[in-house]
């Protein structure tokens, strides 16, 4: 059986890459995609801990189900906001939507 730290390292790498994407990218859609990567990392962590450390209560699996549900809601809403931003500002880049910045 695969040791648990393999899964945890995979999830850390995935989270780090997602974090890099969120910080470095300009397009709101690309930032959203990077956030999805981070959520995937969290799900892997939850499931690995549930399966290896508490297989009787498996709270982690339930949490992963909720993470996926909320991620679906979040993507729908975020894309609607990006669409609205694009319609108002003719751009989907977060650094160009700086009306509130002075």
């Amino acid at each position: 059986m695969i040791p648990i730290d393999r899964f945890l390292i995979l999830s850390a790498i995935l989270f780090g890459l997602g974090m890099y994407g969120v910080l470095a990218r300009r397009s709101a859609v690309l930032i959203l995609m990077s956030v999805e990567l981070m959520l995937q990392a969290v799900s892997i962590n939850f499931i690995a801990f549930a399966v290896y450390l508490s297989p009787v209560a498996f709270t982690g699996i339930i949490f992963a189900i909720f993470v996926i549900t909320i991620a679906a809601a979040e993507v729908g809403l975020a894309l609607a906001i990006i669409l609205r931003l694009y319609r108002n500002k003719a751009t989907a880049n977060v650094d160009e939507a700086d009306t509130m910045k002075w």
Binding site: Y20, A24, R26
Partner: protein, 165 residues
């Protein structure tokens, strides 16, 4: 090395390569396609963790719905004939922050001794998950459905063309 580990390393490599593609691709559509690869590989990781139900949900929701939505948004927000840089000037700092975070987390995870490392994997059946979801977790489940509905209505209200626009 057992065959299980070989499969894990292959799936993990596909996941990481896909994720790297998402954050480094020069073309925004390529990024979205790399995201699909990465998400499907994560479904493979879920199967290796004996969570088949979540793997199926992953393929249905992420592989189907989320990537279609993202591609749809890309199609609607594409600024044509104007190739702009996809990364901001803060890129080196982003790499530094993410690299530092990754290093610290991996260090913490490898130096900790996790209990129950050598136990045989306990397959959690779909029946058990369903039971827990509708008894112990019934209220969070209902709240999640409410959140989904609010998000759906909110997305329609936000994205709708208004009169006189």
């Amino acid at each position: 090395m057992t065959y299980e580990e070989v499969i894990f390393y292959v799936v993990a490599a596909v996941t990481v390569v896909g994720a790297l593609g998402v954050v480094t691709a020069r073309n925004i559509v390529h990024s979205a396609l790399f995201l699909i690869v990465s998400l499907l590989a994560v479904a493979g990781v879920f199967i290796l963790l004996a969570a088949e139900f979540l793997a199926i949900v992953q393929v249905l929701i992420y592989g189907g719905a989320v990537t279609i939505l993202v591609l749809f948004a890309l199609m609607l927000t594409r600024v044509r004939d104007l190739p702009t840089a996809l990364d901001g000037p803060q890129r080196p700092f982003a790499a530094l922050a993410a690299g530092a975070f990754m290093g610290i987390t991996i260090l913490a995870m490898t130096t900790t001794t996790w209990p129950g490392e050598t136990e045989e994997i306990h397959v959690i059946s779909l029946k058990e998950i369903g039971n827990a979801l509708f008894t112990t977790w019934a209220i969070p489940f209902e709240i999640a459905s409410l959140v989904l509905m609010v998000a759906l209505v909110g997305a329609i209200v936000l994205a709708r063309e208004e009169e006189g626009e």
